[in-house]
Symmetry: C2
Subunit: 408 residues, 2 copies
């Protein structure tokens, strides 16, 4: 335990330096020099620890321990190396470090695995530099869309392909689809506070919630706040408030794992003495069950159209993100569960409300996820943190799961 | 009627040129060159028409027709010459033009009045250049606060006193309080659509609503929209929506003349996938009855504190404007009413939901107001407009009222 803890601290220190700024947290965007240094450092670390270290065309970094009995059956674990702007050093990064430390530990203690173990440092997940997400994992499973990224530029006008080339990478010469992955296991911070609130150290993820995101605009009538009697108004802030109250109340009645958020609200003209004639707001709805996600969100949209019709307010609904829920592999979930159970771990089965690389692997290879707690649920923020004991317990859990998968 | 109509068009054209821009409406701010040109033009117009034309220390412009029997009893009419940024050419300006045309008409038809008639072009009402309102009328009744304006600067950093001096004006050498005003009558566009909706051409204003304006901030907890179950949230947009719905419903139940507006809403961080942890919103409440204004708004604030307490959300309430309702002079209201009635005018008694110079005069001299319709209720906007027939009917009404006050 103490050895693992110091390994966690030592490895984190080596990687965190690339993109860290005091007070500003981590900013390590795809194909920047911080990103390249972090990937090169992982490559060296893997090599020095006796892994076969290599990179693929787009910059995913691998460390491989060849299996003695089933070398073509790969048990892969890792996460993404990129961060959001002003994020933390756990979201993504710790999943790579944990897999690396776990595999080192297993090799040192048990020698070569029966099945091949591979740690992966995925090139990109966040979409923080270019508006394209899961570039790393999508390349591994063969669903990356080169045409979609070719025209993308970052906020300084740098082209995606040029940024890639500056780091020494280019598109895969032919569409690679790894057929040898027998299981993918991702360890990640929860980025919520369910584990903390319930006093659990580990989460066994059963599925990743699907999500629908909307931009909704209402058009009423802007009027003088003093000279327009209440009965004459088409007040869009009032209409929005009715919609928000009714929808959130219905979401609470529906219960977990449904979540519904009205995160952005922009009335016009947005000034104290004018009845707001227009409003733009967003709705974000998530659920682990596809039918329930669709059924609930469709009903909420119908409700709000009804509210607007009664108020003679125009409504425009734009569903701009519609991602299905992704279940983890039931057999792998059970294996993780029973492994933790056998070790007497303090864990719970739960879903993920956030998106992860695991959702790209899951429809194609047996995939599972392990969560560790986030202090106060904070993530995508320099204050992102997890207790060192919880980090270490996470590595231990991964050791036990990877042992079951690669040594048994 | 046709003669008055052409007088209205001709006078409007002469004054509108100062500050008008195609597509951008009128912008004529205090102590700018457009403002000075407009005031000088009024001065010339008054002079040419046989009025004694003069200016006071701060730049209010007067045209005087000396009374034959009671020269010391002044019947004053007019409004403000300044506009908001990108406003129209009726708000303020037309009240001066109407008074000038009405007094010219009376002089031409009936000769000198028994009581002195004075048209006034008030220097400022809107507070659009410097954050101080009613500078013109406050100087006339002796309540202008020189110390309050001394330190003010416009958005280009120009000081109030310097701007004043550049136009050739300085503070009044001693505090002037006009004691000779027997009645003040202001004609103004309604800036609402009550008259239009009810098919009336004139409004007899009984009082100007008091208003209370608040900035209210709520502090809950910002959370990830995907990973935070509904039961864990302290969602300030949801709290605001509850407050808004309940408050507006109560305002509607209370009924006219109460109005309640939540015009500005700014959540933080205001993004689709974060439960909003903070929100700032404004509340604007108006009523013609002081006790009811205080009672209702105090109750609404208590309600929202209750809602926040139940949701464990912090609330901070800042009441930054608290203006009492101002009744017009009952005898003058009756005189205007009976005069219009006798002429068969199509009018209604009503209150004003907006503030006007009349509210500065009203506590000190007998004051009345006449409203004319605003097309679609639009004002403080380049699209501000009133039908030429309604403008002319307004001038006729003023002629009849001023006749009663100055010739009878």
């Amino acid at each position: 335990m103490e050895l693992l803890k110091s390994k966690v601290e030592e490895t984190s220190k080596k990687i965190t330096q690339f993109g860290y700024e005091e007070g500003a947290g981590m900013t390590r965007l795809l194909y920047t020099k911080e990103w390249l240094s972090a990937q090169n450092t992982f490559l060296e670390l893997f090599e020095k620890s006796g892994f076969q270290a290599y990179s693929d065309d787009v910059g995913n970094i691998y460390g491989r321990l060849e299996g003695t009995e089933y070398p073509d059956q790969v048990i892969m674990s890792g996460s993404h190396v990129d961060t959001v702007v002003n994020g933390g050093n756990l979201d993504g990064q710790f999943g790579i470090e944990a897999a690396f430390i776990a595999m080192q530990y297993l090799k040192d203690k048990h020698g070569s695995p029966k099945r091949t173990l591979e740690v992966v440092s995925l090139a990109e997940e966040e979409g923080s530099r270019f508006p394209y997400v899961f570039w790393g994992s999508k390349n591994i499973v063969g669903i990356a869309d080169n045409d979609a990224v070719k025209g993308l530029t970052d906020n300084k006008g740098v082209n995606f392909v040029d940024a890639m080339k500056q780091c020494g990478f280019d598109f895969a010469t032919e569409r690679t689809v790894r057929k040898d992955i027998k299981a993918f296991v991702e360890l990640h911070i929860e980025q919520g506070k369910v584990l903390e609130t319930e006093g659990k150290q580990l989460g066994v993820v059963t599925s990743i919630a699907g999500q629908r995101r909307y931009n909704i605009t209402l058009k009423g009538e802007a009027n003088h706040a003093g000279t327009t009697p209440m009965g004459y108004r088409k007040d869009t802030v009032y209409a929005f408030s009715k919609i928000c109250c009714q929808s959130i109340d219905k979401a609470k009645a529906e219960g977990d794992p449904l979540v519904l958020t009205f995160g952005k609200v922009v009335p016009k003209p947005n000034t104290v003495n004018v009845v707001p004639g227009d409003i733009l707001f967003t709705m974000d709805c998530r659920h682990t069950d596809k039918e329930k996600l669709i059924g609930f969100s469709d009903q909420i949209i119908e409700d709000m159209k009804q509210i607007c019709a009664e108020m003679e307010i125009e409504i425009d609904v734009d569903l701009w993100m519609d991602e299905e829920p992704i279940p983890m592999d039931p057999a792998l979930v059970d294996l993780i569960d029973s492994t933790l159970e056998a070790k007497g771990a303090n864990y719970k089965r739960m879903h993920s409300g956030a998106g992860h690389d695991a959702q790209i692997f899951a429809p194609r290879v047996p995939t599972g996820m392990i969560f560790i707690p986030s202090i106060a649920g904070i993530s995508h923020n320099p204050a992102e943190q997890t207790d060192i004991d919880d980090l270490t317990v996470g590595v231990e859990a991964l050791i036990n799961v990877l042992y079951e998968l690669a040594y048994n």
